[in-house]
């Protein structure tokens, strides 16, 4: 299906990413059908989304009319067969292969084969998700970044079986949502989560070696290199557990490529419960208001 035919977008999963995608799609003029497993979750998600949109109106970023129209364009459902009315589907359910695969199999019997299915997976293989469906050609990766309304980047991932036309439609779709698409192969970590690994891993190495303490390393990266945040500050923000898990996953996925070898020191930090801002302590300590 080409971009001109897309009016109604289905979003599966109304969590951090699904909610953000639904918001951006509605604000970009699409009708949105937001799906999740129960109504409480959907109500919460809808409350959050309308809250963000209303705040944008209060700040004068959009008009009141635009805000009301965007909120009105979002409908929620717990009934997957309702996705039959959507021209494009973006999936943002939890990062579990079997869960994603079974949803895609159900969609085989619900949607027209021309409807593109975009997965927001961060670490799974698009090729593998697509492999269980009747039409693997229509399954393409569309990797948004958190928070979706603020982050401009979308990685468009062509799996081994993805149709060229479907990839092109996703690129157009990303642009319609006000994003900058980049095209990548279906490799673990895609571009960003792969290429960024040494930012953390080399910094951890330097710390383990005693070249400098974590605060000095952060400062040299910021003040010497012009980065907005140093690697240790960023790990604290992301969560040391999340960051460590990402390194382990990339390391495993590349069959123990030495460039991606995780840090023992970071593992100990995770084991000790110093996970970063969210626990009040990671590499740095945080007050109540900084969490």
């Amino acid at each position: 299906m080409t971009i001109e035919h897309i009016k109604k977008v289905g979003v599966l999963g109304s969590g951090t990413m699904g909610g953000g995608i639904a918001q951006v799609a509605a604000q970009s003029g699409f009708d949105v059908l937001l799906y999740d497993i129960n109504t409480e979750i959907l109500q919460k998600a809808f409350g959050k989304i309308s809250g963000f949109i209303n705040r944008a109106a209060e700040k004068g970023k959009i008009t009141r009319e635009e805000a009301d129209a965007a909120i009105e364009r979002i409908i929620t459902t717990t009934h997957l067969p309702n996705m039959a009315g959507c021209d494009f589907i973006i999936e943002a359910v939890p990062e579990k292969l079997e869960l994603k695969q079974s949803l895609y199999q159900e969609l085989d019997g619900i949607t027209s084969p021309h409807v593109i299915l975009a997965t927001n997976t961060s670490t799974l293989s698009v090729t593998q998700i697509a492999s269980v469906t009747k039409n693997p050609g229509r399954v393409v990766g569309m990797h948004f970044f958190n928070p979706v309304p603020l982050m401009k980047l979308v990685e468009v991932i062509g799996g081994a079986s993805s149709d060229e036309a479907a990839i092109l439609t996703i690129i157009e779709m990303a642009k319609r949502l006000g994003k900058t698409p980049v095209v990548t192969k279906d490799v673990p970590g895609f571009i960003v989560n792969r290429v960024a690994r040494p930012f953390y891993l080399e910094a951890l190495r330097l710390l383990e070696e005693g070249v400098a303490d974590h605060a000095t390393i952060d400062r040299l990266i910021r003040e010497g290199g012009g980065f907005n945040m140093g690697p240790f500050e960023l790990m604290d923000l992301i969560g040391l557990d999340v960051n460590f898990a990402a390194s382990v996953s990339v390391y495993e996925a590349y069959f123990h490529e030495p460039r991606y070898r995780p840090s023992l020191l970071q593992q100990r930090m995770v084991e000790s419960g110093r996970l970063g801002r969210k626990t009040g302590r990671g590499w740095y300590e945080y007050g109540e208001d900084e969490k």
């Binding site: 970044f145 982050m151 401009k152 980047l153 990685e155 900058t180 980049v182 095209v183 990548t184 192969k185 490799v187 895609f190 571009i191 960003v192 792969r194 290429v195 960024a196 690994r197 040494p198 930012f199 891993l201 080399e202 910094a203 330097l206 070696e209 005693g210 070249v211 400098a212 000095t216 390393i217 400062r219 040299l220 990266i221 003040e223 010497g224 290199g225 012009g226 980065f227 907005n228 945040m229 690697p231 030495p258 460039r259 070898r261």
Partner: protein, 253 residues
């Protein structure tokens, strides 16, 4: 101010020459490889380029052995009192001092282009470095409006080592056809907020310099994690060293 001899073969050397002049230093530049590979200088006798009025030697060169390895049994007299600030992309300060008969007037430093934007510079005393040399290095970078930050002597320092590793990793992704150079750079700027994409940054630093850092790390640590991407090496062989040669990962018509 002081008379500085700047020895170098890359954008950082050219830039620091300008910054030193702007800050009132008398600067004598000694450059090689300004337009790419230059095969005419296999061995440079620093004794012959340094003058009696030189107060400080700022070196930012790869192939340092061509400058600093002392062939004679004696430490060259003229070099004994002058602080030698050597850029630690490829060896540690301790190692370079060793070439100069364990000279105490050798100290390491590290930064990356664009030097203009750097607010801090890394200073790395070797095991042999004396206090006077450390102070001279601190004073010099302070005079350029940069904050000197002392860290432990090592190859690549903090910033060059982290950025060279990012560049290497991006080069592998490019070689493997994961995405185009432009898409890799855009992704890293928008997805992680980096000041430059790793490949465009490599073109500013000089691909020869980046390869030097990676080879230096390989040599110092003997670990596979630093092995340079083959496509980076190929570009260096071809003389595609980045912005200054008109071509690197990108072309600069």
């Amino acid at each position: 101010m002081s008379n500085v001899l700047v020895i170098g073969d890359g954008p950082l050397a050219y830039e620091i020459t300008e910054t030193s002049k702007l800050n009132g230093h008398g600067v004598t530049p000694y450059f090689t490889n300004e337009r790419g590979p230059d095969f005419s200088h296999p061995y440079i006798n620093v004794e012959q380029i340094v003058s009696r009025s030189t107060d400080l030697i700022l070196e930012a060169a790869k192939n340092k052995i061509n400058y600093w390895y002392t062939h004679g049994s004696e430490y060259p007299k003229i070099l004994t009192d002058i602080p030698i600030l050597t850029l630690l992309y490829t060896e540690s300060a301790t190692h370079i001092s060793n070439w100069l008969r364990n000279a105490p007037n050798v100290i390491g430093w590290a930064a990356l282009p664009p030097f203009e934007k750097a607010k801090a510079v890394e200073i790395m005393p070797g095991l042999q470095t004396n206090q006077a040399t450390l102070e001279a290095a601190q004073q010099f970078f302070t005079s350029l409006g940069k904050e000197p930050v002392i860290i432990k002597d090592c190859v690549g320092g903090v910033l060059p080592r982290v950025v060279a590793s990012l560049i290497n990793n991006a080069a592998y992704a490019l070689m493997e056809g994961v995405a185009s150079a432009a898409d890799i750079d855009v992704a890293m700027k928008l997805g992680t907020n980096y000041p430059y994409g790793p490949l465009e940054w490599a073109d500013k630093i000089g691909l020869d310099q980046v390869l030097g850092i990676l080879e230096g790390l390989c040599e110092a640590y003997g670990e596979d994690r630093y092995r340079p991407a083959p496509n980076l090496r190929q570009l260096v062989y071809a003389g595609h060293w980045g912005e200054r040669t008109g071509r690197g990962f990108y072309e600069y018509p």
